[in-house]
Symmetry: C2
Subunit: 328 residues, 2 copies
């Protein structure tokens, strides 16, 4: 069976060669919602697919204030010193109205961002977590094709976004603040169960002892939970991102985790993730098609009005829209 | 134009009369994913729609450990003493694998749950935030039809679930822990911007002074932000849920907020929410239809395999599925 060779995308060769501008432009391409951009992105991703997957995919999360940026900067610099090429992708769908945090993000990871072997990409704009996660997954494939062998996906919060990140990485690291024993009830089982490694940050100065105590409290709490997999019992470590201590040990733990899972274990996890990703893609693409449907567009204004004024239940209005869209 | 009168649902009359068992069964009905249950739920909701909307809809959130359950219990008991009928609905999609927190939820709000004028419903099971939020919105309409004049939707976390809750209530209350000034950078602008009222809990014992200081820090932070609406500048209060102090003052603030917004302001907010809800319904219903499509079902196994093994990009596989589903 012969196939016609598709015309090669001009971004393909420079991206594979590790060109930063080509990489940045390719990520912008996958983030675009324009239909022609989407088609080009699909073709580019399919062509690059054989060159992806060769990175350690790490998710890093923690509540606001835990020192996530400082940790990732130190961690990233440590990896670059050891000869790695590091990409940091952010997912932050929580800032809905205006974007950004009180402290601007401009000064985040300044040292890391100056490194030739680091590529940092802020959270893509997007109103839904699904949309943001979708673009970040594709960006991860692109940084891998560009030769980055450590891909870090960071996210904020103690909620749904951790699940989205855990669903796209090989290993999920939870940064925790030092805390009194009474705060332990605050750990949500769901989030801890996602974590393959817990790191108590701020183990310095006045908080050093509290951090050690927290680490052993967290370890006890972990024992109450099922192990994430038979091959690996999550570890608890302490570090001081500000003072740069305990950082190398986190990377050592990543190595132990990967050895424990083995190539087959990682491949299995990625297979399950790819299937979930497919379903996410189906959902997003389907909604885009519905929004473009001419008859649906015409009908929507009246139905939206009825729903807004409380004359019609949203579920009933949705049924009518679907009848139109599917021609049934 | 004459319409045939649909057969009245047996839950309709007892639910309107405030029967708790009918209410619980109706919520179970809207939570069901069975197609015939869904049709019955749609009809029941549409019939009840004229009897809904007469509650104060409050969202309450806060990070794990902030004392949310204790606060809601005290707050609920205060409202019941004042003659209100209170419903508490929970949204917690974060516990994905096994559900529940380390501390069981059985003993939560024990005093409140014993009250005849309180109705407490735990988070519905559901793998997606969208699915959970959808059922909770409908449960809110049902508790309103059953005569509850205060509907509280609680959620955990500092992420996407707050947005879902803020999108279904009249007023959004953020519970905060007392904290040192250096933790202030941890407040995400996005979450604070959603809040109409900030309450610093645990203003008791050793933490009383820290709570007061935190409240004034938060107030200063709020001044850096836009006001949520021209009619209302978010307030910051302290309380001690454990000691029951500051609880009545939170309800006073709710009253001031409602007076400031006016009936028209609340109606406008609800109209915008209903429109967003409609879109959520469309998405969920559409995906359910796709999953039932016979040809899609047949094609899926092979495509899922190709995606899992990395032979096909998920976005490209999604396009093929959609081509089949839409017959294009």
């Amino acid at each position: 069976a012969t196939k016609t060779q598709p015309v090669e995308d001009p971004l393909f060769a420079p991206l594979l060669a590790g060109d930063r501008r080509a990489l940045a432009r390719a990520i912008t391409l996958v983030e675009s919602t324009r239909e022609d951009h989407r088609e080009r992105a699909d073709a580019l991703l399919t062509a690059l697919l054989p060159h992806t997957g060769r990175s350690v995919r790490l998710g890093i999360t923690g509540v606001p204030g835990v020192g996530k940026s400082t940790f990732i900067e130190r961690f990233g610099l440590h990896l670059i010193e050891a000869g790695h090429k590091v990409a940091v992708l952010a997912i932050d769908p929580s800032s809905k109205r205006t974007g950004g945090s009180i402290l601007g993000d401009k000064t985040r990871m300044e040292l890391l961002s100056r490194q030739a072997n680091a590529f940092i990409r802020p959270s893509p704009a997007g109103t839904t977590l699904g949309g943001v996660a979708r673009r970040t997954r594709e960006a991860m494939l692109l940084v891998e094709a560009a030769g980055h062998d450590v891909a870090i996906v960071e996210t904020v919060g103690v909620g749904q976004s951790e699940t989205a990140v855990a669903d796209m990485v090989d290993m999920f690291i939870l940064l925790l603040p030092p805390s009194g024993g009474d705060d332990l009830q605050g750990i949500k089982k769901g989030v801890v169960e996602l974590a393959d490694l817990l790191v108590v940050n701020k183990a310095d100065g006045d908080l050093a002892r509290a951090a050690q105590r927290s680490a052993s409290d967290y370890l006890n709490a972990l024992r109450l939970l099922y192990p994430v997999s038979a091959a690996w019992m999550p570890e608890v470590r302490t570090c001081s991102a500000v003072e740069g201590r305990g950082i190398a040990e986190v990377w050592d733990a990543v190595g132990r985790y990967r050895a424990a899972q083995g190539e087959a274990g990682i491949a299995r996890r990625r297979g399950v993730q790819a299937r979930a990703w497919l379903w996410n893609e189906i959902g997003e693409t389907l909604m885009a098609a519905l929004r473009r449907h001419p008859e649906v567009k015409r009908q929507l204004a009246a139905l939206e009005h009825d729903v807004e004024t409380g004359a019609l239940a949203p579920s009933a209005a949705a049924r009518r829209i679907l009848g139109t869209f599917l021609g049934r």
